[in-house]
């Protein structure tokens, strides 16, 4: 049993909210606030105070920022809407018109009906499958457009620079493109051409900083941009083939591509 009043007055809750507590203290506060409603109330009041303080200092960001942010996010209606629309259109267009002979006798009529039903079922099955394929295609294309839009946005960012890593003796035709933002330090990579590695191996990206290789992570062979580890500095980038999961230091005899950062 702790003395709740003393605990509150110790100032630990204020420190907890600013993150100035040890891992153990953090768990302690979280735990005690569940047990003692007084502690929870106190935490809520303090949070509310900080929140109000933030609202007192609010500044309106430029209006364009909102759409810039929203363009980066995937919303539920992005794909679903299109799927529903496409499906209805396809179905309406594709219902087959089957001519019937009005003067046929009952025997023939039965066959025609059976055939029609069979044809109808076949058509429905076929078109359902097609609608599904189409929806998948639409979804894929949307993902592609999104990726491309993102890439275009990256091109427009003055802090971004592309570094093309060219193949060395081992694999002269290989090349990899690295996109590096020296400000956000983000590193992305797209494989233009690299031999498919054996299943126990993976390619690994390195940044050369002060002449020393710094691990930027392993990646798969795909043209889509993959996020790598960040780096604030790089004189050059290089890719080596390492064991699956990567190595702490590169095997230079397995160097595939390399490129110097301009400037």
């Amino acid at each position: 049993m702790i003395n709740v009043k003393e605990y509150i007055e110790s100032g630990i809750l204020e420190d907890f909210l600013s993150g100035n507590v040890s891992e153990q203290e953090r768990r302690e506060v979280e735990c005690l606030s569940k047990i003692y409603p007084e502690i929870r109330t106190e935490l809520d009041i303090l949070s509310d105070t900080i929140e109000r303080y933030a609202f007192a200092n609010k500044v309106t960001p430029p209006a364009a920022l909102k759409s810039k942010i929203m363009a980066q996010l995937a919303f539920a209606d992005d794909v679903v809407d299109t799927k529903v629309e496409d499906a209805t259109e396809e179905e309406e267009d594709s219902v087959p018109v089957l001519p019937l002979n009005s003067r046929s006798n009952s025997f023939q009529w039965g066959w025609v009906a059976a055939a029609s039903v069979a044809a109808l079922i076949g058509t429905v099955v076929y078109f359902n499958a097609r609608v599904e394929t189409l929806s998948t295609t639409v979804a894929q294309q949307q993902t592609e457009i999104k990726t491309q839009t993102e890439q275009i946005a990256q091109l427009n960012d003055a802090n971004n620079q592309f570094v093309t890593l060219k193949g060395v003796e081992k694999s002269p035709n290989s090349s990899v493109r690295v996109l590096w933002n020296s400000k956000t330090q983000e590193v992305q990579l797209s494989v233009l051409s690299l031999p498919e590695p054996s299943s126990d191996k993976q390619y690994q990206l390195w940044a050369l900083v002060g002449g020393k290789p710094v691990d930027l992570g392993v990646f798969d062979v795909t043209t889509a941009f993959q996020k790598m580890k960040t780096t604030g500095q790089a004189e050059a980038f290089a890719v080596t083939l390492e064991k699956k999961g990567g190595n702490p230091t590169p095997h230079l005899e397995e160097l595939y591509v390399m490129g110097k950062v301009a400037g």
Partner: protein, 179 residues
Amino acid sequence: MGLKTPKLNESELLELLRRQDRRAFSYLYDNYSEALYGVVLKVVRTEETAQDLLQEIFVKIWKNIAQYDSSKGRLFTWMLNIARNTSIDYLRVNRLEIQDIDTAVYTVEQSQTIYEEINSNELKEVVSQLKPEQQTLIEMVYWGGYTHEEAAQRLDMPLGTVKTRVRSALRDLRKFFGA
């Protein structure tokens, strides 16, 4: 998105956000972007950087919203944590310091917030009762993610003094707000 969104309470908003609802995000942004932008602007030097960080913050909020647990604390507190961590990362990497408080003069515009009772002009008046030094301390520690040690070093104050003053600043602020 030009449609006027009906007012949502926090749990409705969260439910919609978890379903990746576009309008819910729009609503969240409209209600919190100004407060978070104000926070970030105080921490980094330029508007351009603050805008980049605000972008990063909202993308993180969006991606991690499922991890927010309302039983552990308020939504804004959680978002402020994300903002603070994003700023800390930025500052550490760029070895920058929080900007001096007197160089950060920005217009505060009034607008509707999720908490209807919060009127930003009133709030501003309340906050102005706080000493500039107390404001700096709250902003450094709660917004900029400065540790007590870093704040002590930066403000050339003994560590114990920083600890006491941060707490008393928050206590004063709380008193002014009448909470």
